[in-house]
């Protein structure tokens, strides 16, 4: 961590603890945009992943994650910043031409202008085909006329630079005209841009979310991001790239939370004992610590992978981090509020605000359900390609392949010990974590077998089996968590970091829990397994949705 980075972290931390930040989020409804205040504070400007020559700091992914940890103390600020730079101007960085970067990035990086990302419409959340905003080429072919409405845009009221996705007519190579999405950089000065009133949200009330309407906005042709018709890929890249920092942000928030809650638990006495002596309270603290540890490990592991030369595609890992940390945040904040009991429910304490703020984590940046589909399907796509040859042989009825498969299955069912080389003399994992490592290896092996069976059973049509995909994704998330945790704990021991045995404890707890969860999930993936209740679940939901109500008769009903 460079000195500059450390300095920034302290500034950020101090800002987030100021009353200003606190009151911003506590106001019933934000009446005046607070952005100018802290943008001028140079706070906004400096935290960019924009390169130095454009005025940014040139932070790497790891440093950005570290900074996220500090910002996470106040969710509204974090969200405003993320909307500005993780998605708002990321389009320009990823897909913009040199001129566009030179024109827009300096002022965006300094905080003079704020950016927003305009993709969602009333009729289109994840469905790109139903986007209705249109951009038509004007007669002189130098402008695009933009018409449409976008909904739930963070920073919509403050932003000057919007990344807007609209449908344009594109002529194909074979002459057919199709509607494709294109990304545009739209400045507020182009005219025709109006905002709705700021939405009254459950949490993150300090950030500005509103509708943005475009009426005959003239966008010069030079402001097209990427190619005309390429907007889909631009959108996907932007969305996939900003996710991993949620892990460290949430971990930072959880660490603070543990401090506050532990303070309370050790002070309060009931039945002549401190709260901290009761088993159920201790369990909650262990849960919070464990989740924070796993989140941190996963986030920094992903950040390091992204920082590797060649910028590999770590979108699955980023999605995994997002899913795990958002759900972990929700459960942990809920438990922390529970430890405080009635006091946690009172608005004078920050717990209920944290709970409300952390609810949005499960929804934005891709809802967790959608991300699970993404994780599972991308992984299965990859596995499917490798297994294509094998699957084709099996389907054709190649005797040797069938015998091999049958033999393998028999040996699996008789119980085998899996050794993938994690432990042992040349193993990377430290011997005190050998237990966890064995569990990970076993899970990985059986997961591989299950994936093969699933692909054989379903093939392409696995896209429709969402309940199966959910289980695959859950296993993947656990496996990644185990990997991150084992590697971090081993490193701690080998480096001799302080309290490394505590880390070993956390790692072992998480590995055991995840192992057993994975075993159960994998057993549910078998065909006709008794643990798999999918058929019944589908039947129940069909009957409920046919009547659109709860259909059981009331318990007090009689037939007399």
């Amino acid at each position: 961590m460079s000195g500059c980075g450390l300095f920034l972290c302290s500034v950020a931390a101090r800002f987030c603890r100021t009353p200003a930040a606190f009151t911003v989020s506590r106001r019933p409804l934000v009446t005046s945009p607070p952005s100018r205040a802290f943008a001028k504070d140079l706070f906004l400007g400096k935290i960019q992943k924009v390169r130095r020559r454009r005025g940014g700091l040139g932070l790497s992914n790891t440093m950005y994650a570290r900074l996220g940890e500090v910002i996470g103390l106040d969710a509204s600020i974090a969200v405003t910043l993320a909307a500005h730079q993780a998605i708002g101007l990321k389009g320009i960085i990823l897909a913009g031409s040199k001129e566009q970067k030179a024109r827009y990035l300096p002022r965006l990086a300094s905080g003079e202008h704020v950016a927003a990302f305009c993709l969602t419409e009333p009729a289109s959340g994840s469905d790109a085909a139903s986007i209705r905003t249109r951009a038509t080429l004007s007669a002189d072919k130098r402008h695009y006329i933009l018409n449409g409405a976008k909904v739930w845009i963070t920073n919509g009221g403050l932003a000057n630079v919007f990344t807007v996705f609209a449908k344009t007519e594109v002529v194909d190579s074979n002459g057919s005209v199709k509607d494709k999405i294109t990304a545009f950089i739209v400045e507020r000065d182009f005219g025709g841009i109006t905002n709705g009133k700021p939405e009254d949200k459950m949490g993150i009330r300090g950030s500005n979310t509103c509708e943005v309407h475009f009426e005959n906005t003239r966008v010069p042709v030079e402001n097209v991001l990427g190619e005309v018709g390429d907007g889909f890929k631009v959108a996907m890249n932007i969305l996939n790239s900003g996710r991993f920092s949620m892990g460290s942000t949430v971990a930072g928030m959880l660490k603070k939370l543990i401090e506050m809650t532990a303070e309370y638990a050790c002070m309060r006495k009931q039945f002549n004992r401190n709260l901290s002596e009761f088993g159920l309270i201790q369990e909650k603290f262990a849960l919070m610590a464990q989740k924070a540890y796993v989140m941190e490990s996963m986030a920094y592991l992903t950040a390091a992978m992204l920082d590797a030369p060649g910028s590999p595609d770590c979108s699955i890992e980023a999605a995994t981090v997002k899913v795990f940390s958002s759900e972990g945040a929700w459960t942990c904040v809920s438990e922390a509020l529970q430890i405080l009991g009635g006091a946690g429910y009172i608005r004078d304490y920050p717990y209920e605000r944290l709970l409300r703020d952390s609810r949005i984590l499960l929804i934005f940046e891709g809802t967790n359900e959608i991300l699970r589909m993404y994780i599972a399907l991308t992984g299965l796509q990859h596995a499917g390609r490798i297994l294509t040859a094998r699957v084709n042989e099996l389907k054709r009825g190649n005797v040797t392949t069938i015998m091999e498969t049958v033999g393998q299955r028999l040996r699996d069912s008789l119980g085998r010990s899996v050794d993938l080389g994690l432990t042992g003399k040349l193993g990377v994992v430290h011997p005190s974590l050998a237990d966890g490592a064995h569990k990970l290896e076993e899970n990985v092996y059986y997961f591989g077998r299950s994936v093969e069976t699933l692909l054989l059973r379903f093939g392409k049509t696995i896209v429709e089996e969402q309940l199966v995909l959910k289980r695959v994704a859950n296993v993947l998330i656990n496996l990644y968590g185990m990997t991150a945790v084992l590697s971090r704990a081993s490193r701690s021991i080998r480096l001799g970091l302080r309290d490394h045995d505590h880390e070993v404890l956390l790692a072992n707890i998480f590995c055991s829990e995840a192992y057993h969860q994975n075993l159960f999930t994998l057993s549910q993936l078998d065909k006709h397994s008794p643990e798999n209740l999918d058929e019944l679940v589908k039947k129940v939901s069909q009957q409920i949705l046919a009547k659109r109500a709860y259909i059981c008769t009331h318990p007090l009903e009689q037939t007399s």
């Binding site: 969305l239 993404y374 399907l377």
Partner: protein, 433 residues
């Protein structure tokens, strides 16, 4: 009964009391008396022959109508104002009860009353059934010793009691405590009617909610309401909308002109609407009907608008747009599909039927009314203007005997072509006008 009466009358006549007897007895209308009395009066001149009066008379050549009146049928004569309702029925039953202390002929009377209940509209009224059971003399038919219980004590009466309960069962009337008490008083606890009652009490409660598609007990009388109930009953989709295209004219005016406007009520769900919008105008769609739908005791006739199934070659494969979902791939790039062991789509009992686009219930089953329906449908389905509509109406609504049946055969192809042209011309004219 008749020979006993004859003896009585003969005795009365011999004392010259025939006329007085008849007048004394006409306090309760008594079908046998009037024909007998004048005969008695007429015969009085010849009645001094004691032999002829003791012999039971052979049955008279009937001067009555072909349908022989049952005993006590007079009780059920329509009242002064001609209405048959519960009050009249109750009065008739009570008149019988007053007529004879010994309640002779109560079994026949009860059978008669059961038959008459439907006319009076009281077949679902529990209090009427209890009243009818009250007609039985109490305590007489109860078994008193073991021999009574072994052999069916008073079998005709027990059968009659069972018949009453069976009619209750057929009309779905649930017996109550009063029924139980009455049966206990009349037949005792070990009798067959009591057994039937106990069974009714058990199974009726169990079977009350057994219909997965219940029809309300009191059906609406208004034809438009009945039609919308029927349509909602048939259409499983809850987002479907019922539209009344035409209300029936009120029959206030005493004109002899027939009301040509009958009700037309239709239903269509949003999925049907979009399917109709996607339908290829080259293929015709058919109005078929009338089909009957029974709701309890009312029959409703409906017509459907449907198209034939496309042959498998012409079926459109749904195109998955390439760039559809921003978050995850909707289509995996693999060459192999589902294995046969996991394919649950084929069901041998399910036959694919062509799409049904709308259903309607109309008062008249002729082409003019249904054409009005199609016109009304065109407002919400503009695509319908370009699709040829063929009317395949089988004129027989065969459920009810009252309606006339004119069978229109589905027209052979050349006239079909003509009809199509007519229809499309009609459409165009109507579209233009």
């Amino acid at each position: 009964m008749s020979w006993a009466q004859a003896i009585l009358l003969a005795r009365g006549l011999s004392r010259g009391w025939g006329g007085i007897c008849s007048t004394a007895l006409t306090g309760a209308p008594f079908s046998q008396v009037p024909p007998q009395a004048p005969r008695g009066l007429r015969c009085s001149a010849v009645a001094h022959n004691p032999d002829s009066s003791l012999v039971p008379r052979p049955p008279e050549p009937s001067r009555r109508p072909v349908k022989a009146l049952a005993v006590h049928e007079e009780l059920f004569r329509p009242a002064l104002d001609g209405t048959r309702d519960k009050a009249n029925f109750v009065r008739a039953v009570q008149n019988f009860a007053e007529y004879n202390v010994h309640k002779r002929g109560h079994v026949d009377f009860i059978y008669l009353a059961l038959r008459k209940m439907r006319e009076y509209g009281v077949e679902r009224d529990l209090s009427v059934y209890n009243l009818l059971l009250d007609v039985f003399p109490k305590e007489v038919f109860r078994p008193r010793n073991i021999f009574h219980s072994i052999f069916i004590h008073y079998p005709r009466q027990q059968e009659c009691g069972i018949a009453v309960l069976e009619q209750m069962e057929n009309h779905g009337v649930m017996p109550n405590n009063e029924t139980e008490f009455l049966l206990m008083q009349i037949f005792g606890r070990k009798s067959y009617p009591m057994l039937k009652l106990v069974r009714m009490k058990l199974w009726f409660t169990r079977f009350k909610n057994i219909n997965p598609f219940p029809v309300p007990r009191d059906l609406p009388q208004d034809p438009v309401d009945l039609a919308s109930l029927a349509l909602r009953h048939m259409e499983p989709d809850l987002s479907a909308r019922v539209t009344t295209y035409q209300m029936p004219l009120p029959k206030d005016s005493p004109d002899t002109m027939d009301p040509t406007e009958t009700h037309i009520v239709g239903i269509q769900s949003p999925e049907q609407q979009s399917a109709l919008a996607r339908h290829d105008p080259v293929r015709p769609i058919f109005v078929e009907g009338p089909f009957s739908l029974w709701l309890r005791d009312k029959c409703v006739y409906y017509h459907i608008l449907r198209a034939d199934l496309l042959p498998p070659e012409e079926r459109e494969v749904e195109e998955i747009p390439e760039e559809w979902n921003l978050y995850y791939p909707m289509q995996l790039d693999l060459t192999y599909g589902r294995s046969g062991w996991d394919d649950y789509k084929f069901n041998i009992d399910e036959v694919e039927e062509g799409p049904v686009f709308a259903i309607c219930v109309a008062g008249a089953h002729d082409q003019a009314t249904l054409a009005k329906w199609i016109q009304g449908l065109q407002e919400t389905n503009p695509a319908l203007a370009r699709i040829p509509v063929v009317f395949r109406l089988s004129g027989s609504s065969g459920e009810l005997l009252a309606s006339s049946s004119e069978l229109e055969e589905p027209p052979p192809p050349p006239p079909e072509g003509q009809e199509e042209e007519e229809d499309s011309q009609q459409r165009q004219q109507q579209g233009q006008s």
